[in-house]
């Protein structure tokens, strides 16, 4: 019963689309190349509300970075074909002139990149780069104001002795400090939307924990919307309110984090879950990799793009998987959980075939656990 409440909240969130800070609708991104047209993102729709976090998961080449770069208008319009609609705080981004895009970039939406060393200019002092970002959107601010703001931001993200470190060059910072400086730069103009593209992938686990804590704290303070792009489902589980799983440029599963990760309904999500060993799991449980490799986006497979690697294809009658692209539609668990799959009863397959393999200890208690979890939240 209580599970249903959880799902309806998710559905209500989806219904109240007008309140969302970022609204991406039917986004399609194609790159014409010498070899043909690369279908990087196809018909992608998602949204994030203020104060919420969306996690985007997928392998390299699944279109997760391309779609979020489109939000900031970072694709060269001469070499990219973009269709659909992206609205940041009500403002349509697609087709906007470069001058107007600049007003959005860094101001209402900012991005944190994966490789902080490559994203900071090696010749300029960290403080200079931060204050430049501030001055760009505050033309009336004096150089001293901008510097003070830079020191304030470095302090906020936990850099020790910010008034001295502000004059350091990026190479004098450690990996974690650089990532903090990147976050400081992203937040210096109080953006309402922050896109973090693999913010912790290059970092050690202890530093990763610090950065994720920092992002959470800052989100509470500024009430900003965050998109975290990662391939680490553990990060998603702890940070995100909603998850979007992408494969070959399409959304294949979309829903509230708890719902999606405890009751995944798409074989690709199962594959992601079962191919990562767990720090607390059974050591004898064999990893179940997803066979094969991600498809080429030049020539995506017919039908469901996951079918060449899907081990559950034979459970679908006929040749549906190879001929028809399944819709992104609600499964058996309510309208808040969308999946793109032809399987008729994924929940049963997950409970009987997947869960006993990847988490034998959870399999027995599986029906009880999800029912109990939302109850806790209400209490």
């Amino acid at each position: 019963m209580s599970t249903d409440t959880g799902v309806t909240t998710g559905a209500a969130g989806a219904a109240a689309a007008g309140e969302r800070l970022l609204e991406v609708e039917h986004l399609t991104v194609k790159f014409p190349t010498a070899d043909g047209l690369v279908n990087a993102v196809t018909d992608l729709s998602y949204g994030v509300a203020r104060g919420k976090t969306l996690g985007i998961v997928g392998e390299s080449g699944s279109g997760k970075s391309v779609s979020s770069m489109a939000v900031l208008g970072l694709h060269d319009p001469r070499r990219t074909r973009i269709e659909g609609s992206i609205r940041v705080d009500g403002q349509e981004v697609i087709g906007l002139s470069e001058a107007k895009l600049r007003r959005i970039r860094g101001n209402s939406a900012a991005m944190i990149f994966q490789d902080a060393l490559a994203s900071l200019h090696p010749f300029y002092r960290v403080g200079k780069q931060l204050s430049e970002a501030y001055a760009a959107h505050h033309p009336k601010a004096s150089a001293r104001d901008a510097r003070r703001k830079a020191i304030e931001m470095l302090d906020l993200v936990g850099i020790p002795q910010p008034d001295r470190r502000v004059d350091d060059f990026p190479h004098q910072f450690s990996g974690g400090m650089r990532q903090r400086a990147m976050i400081a730069m992203g937040l210096i103009n109080d953006p309402s939307l922050l896109i973090a593209d693999e913010p912790t992938t290059a970092l050690d686990v202890t530093v990763q924990a610090q950065i994720l804590d920092l992002l959470g704290d800052l989100q509470r303070e500024f009430d900003s919307a965050i998109i975290i792009i990662t391939h680490d489902l553990g990060v998603i589980a702890e940070m995100a309110d909603e998850v979007l799983v992408m494969y070959a440029g399409r959304a294949v599963e979309y829903g509230a984090t708890r719902e999606l990760l405890t009751h995944p309904e798409m074989p690709y999500t199962w594959g992601l879950l079962s191919s990562v060993p767990d720090v607390s799991g059974d050591v004898d449980a064999r990893l179940l990799p997803i066979p094969g490799n991600p498809p080429s986006l030049l020539d995506p497979p017919s039908g469901c793009s996951f079918h060449p690697r899907c081990v559950h294809r034979d459970k679908v009658p006929g040749d549906l998987c190879t001929t028809t692209i399944p819709d992104l539609s609600p499964g058996g668990r309510g309208p808040g959980h969308l999946k793109r799959c032809h399987l008729a009863d994924p929940e049963r397959i997950y409970a009987t075939e997947i869960l006993p393999e990847i988490a034998p200890d959870l399999a027995d208690g599986a029906p009880a656990a999800p029912a109990a979890a939302p109850t806790n939240k209400e209490a």
């Binding site: 610090q210 589980a237 702890e238 060993p277 179940l288 997803i290 979890a373």
Partner: protein
Amino acid sequence: MVSVQKDADATLTRHRSGGEPVLEVEDLKMYFPVKSSGLVRRTVGHVQAVDGVSFQVPAGGALGLVGESGCGKSTTGRLITRLHDPTSGAIRFEGTDLAKLSPRQMKPMRRDVQMIFQDPFSSLNPRHTVGAIVSSPLVTHDMVPKNKVLSRVQELLEVVGLNPEHYNRYPNEFSGGQRQRIGIARALALQPKLLVADEPVSALDVSIQAQVVNLLDDLQKEFGIAFLFIAHDLAVVRHFCPEVAVMYLGKIVEIADRETLYNRPHHPYTQALLSAVPDVRQAAVGGRRERIRIEGDVPSPINPPSGCRFRTRCPLAKEICARVEPPLMQIGRRHKVACHFPGELGKHPEEPVTARLLGVDDQGSPDPGGSPTDLGNPPGFADTWFDLDKRQMAGATSRSTTQDAG
């Protein structure tokens, strides 16, 4: 799965009976000189990348080496394959000390000790075909007659799950996971007894990681290769290695069998490291997991902190930690820890357990009445150990009360 359990038990029994270690590393040190700038480049300091590391790898077994970047785990791996010349210490491979061999003497040993590299893009020559890459160790070491090389290469490609017909393709025609398989095939060509795998899966996509881990698993079972598995991913190491060592700033801070290390870690660093790993199962609860926060970054290995190297970030640090370095002390059958206050999370002792052994008082000042015991830094595990509850030496047999620590 049952048979796997049996195998694990068998490995464990072999450990316990003191079975033959294929590799024994004792007090290994690697100091890289830091040169001053200018015309006369004097040595102004040393990066203590690896500072007194000792461990054993059992034949056909696997030891995991984990730690943050810069802790010296990769350098340790490169020392064992003699890609660096160690400053001091011994690397005994089946009784031969590799650390003292000349490059010429080293050549036959390289047959038995091979390495898998982290980056499948930079570790393969882009101008060589896969056949040339995999066959070059065969030719260099004269493993097979010239007319058999191709068939052996095809055999190897098949073993690692590649199409044997692809021997005349170039590395750029393969994906990351397939390239890593080529690297593995090259390492397997000489039928090594020990494979040093330096972050073999961290450059790969999640779904591909599992394929490669499973492949390494199969190869180990089939050929009985011992692994030194270096990685920062604690979950992968736990999956692959029955025994795991945790390194921090050039030293091993805790080494134990997998169950002990992951379920009952005694070193505050291991505890913090484990609690920092994001867990998918957290999705069922929601929000961030309660974790031990350690502040700041790893200090510089050029000028490491005095005493215990972790003390600058350690929540338990006291005066003694700055004055005396904690020895890597055996506290269980297969469990060593280097800490003055070792204990399970929340049960760390108030008084340093090491003070009497080191001949100092609880603050770390030399105790005139104390008689320091030299624990040394042996690579293996002893039959007796220091029992943390009883504060005295204990052993595998019932004579646990006969020996005292002092």
